[in-house]
Symmetry: C3
Subunit: 148 residues, 3 copies
């Protein structure tokens, strides 16, 4: 999978929270990741709402121990919730986010965020943590999980 | 669209957060808006769960550049997530919220909150921000978007 | 309904927030409840994402005034959002949580959390409140609702 990096356009740091307003066209996980790298975030949680023009979501197949595609949409949808966190893996920030979207008929779909194009906006509220969250590979699932 | 205003019944201010317990019958966006006006909120984010006896949700049609109806329900549902924020537009607070609801068969639907009747309760956690969030009309979409 | 109690494995207290990393196999409401009891939480709100190997959700039937089953799944799903709070009822913490899950085809379902097995993880961000939230039985619905 190729990620197209898009810059963060506007943000404002505040006590314990950061408001992000993301650009009209962007891959949301990229933007959050770039933001996390730029701000040297080592632990944060966020929630967001907005709208998307396309997206790819996945689910973790416990049999194959891999993320597999579950939703691929190329249409305008409401981003109903995007909840996730930032943690460090091997010293670098990683973003983990789960999305729920609403289609034009109100149907809700959702999964693990793989890729999304924001249109026209995504309002992210991100709270930074004073501690570090470290991810380590879990032997059973093969996933990098938070270990405090 | 006509909004029926319903008063806020109980709330308690705390450091950085406000807990709201909303009344049995009310239009949720109204209550949040009235609360925002009364408390002179200029920037806040919130999340909520609860239950509704009816609701109308919409989606933003990128072709028509308008919010159009997506879900209209007149039945008891669980409010699974209500995520949104308060910002200022032309000096007055505006509330933006996206809802996901669960029907009695567990089906999830969701969209941009247009109207909802709370029954019996909605537990809102609202965090006020020390900064102002200003909305300005975005020329491309025609929507008022947050500009920091 | 019988709850199987599973211990909290790792957590770290911080100013205004607590990060929980829950065990591979566990009943999520139990873990949160045990955590709330152990930490003597009297008021807190949380949001979480993760994955589940099985779950039971419900909805509040306004006619019967009872929680009735809406979703019973015995398969691996993404936990897209788990939003809820902790309050005191008769001096003991109670956990109220609503879940949205995503199936392998991306379908979203959701309801009031009755029971869930976490696999492999659930990332909970919990913010404690300095005030007490008290629940009292509401005469109309028969539910214990927060009364500030």
């Amino acid at each position: 999978m190729v990620w197209r990096l898009v810059g963060i356009t506007r943000y404002l740091e505040r006590d314990g929270g950061v408001y992000l307003e993301l650009e009209v066209i962007g891959l949301s996980r990229d933007i959050l990741l770039e933001f996390a790298e730029q701000e040297k975030l080592s632990a944060a949680s966020f929630k967001a709402v907005g709208a998307l023009s396309s997206l790819r979501l996945g689910w973790f197949n416990w049999e194959s121990k891999k993320y597999e595609p579950s939703v691929t949409l190329d249409e305008q949808v409401e981003l109903l919730s995007l909840i996730g966190d930032v943690a460090l893996k091997d010293g670098k920030p990683v973003v983990h986010a789960h999305a729920v979207i609403g289609k034009k008929d109100g149907t809700a779909q959702g999964g693990h965020l793989l890729e999304a194009h924001i249109r026209p906006t995504c309002e992210v509220v991100l709270a930074e943590s004073p501690i570090h969250l470290q991810k380590q590979v879990d032997p059973e699932s093969g996933l990098a999980l938070i270990r405090l």
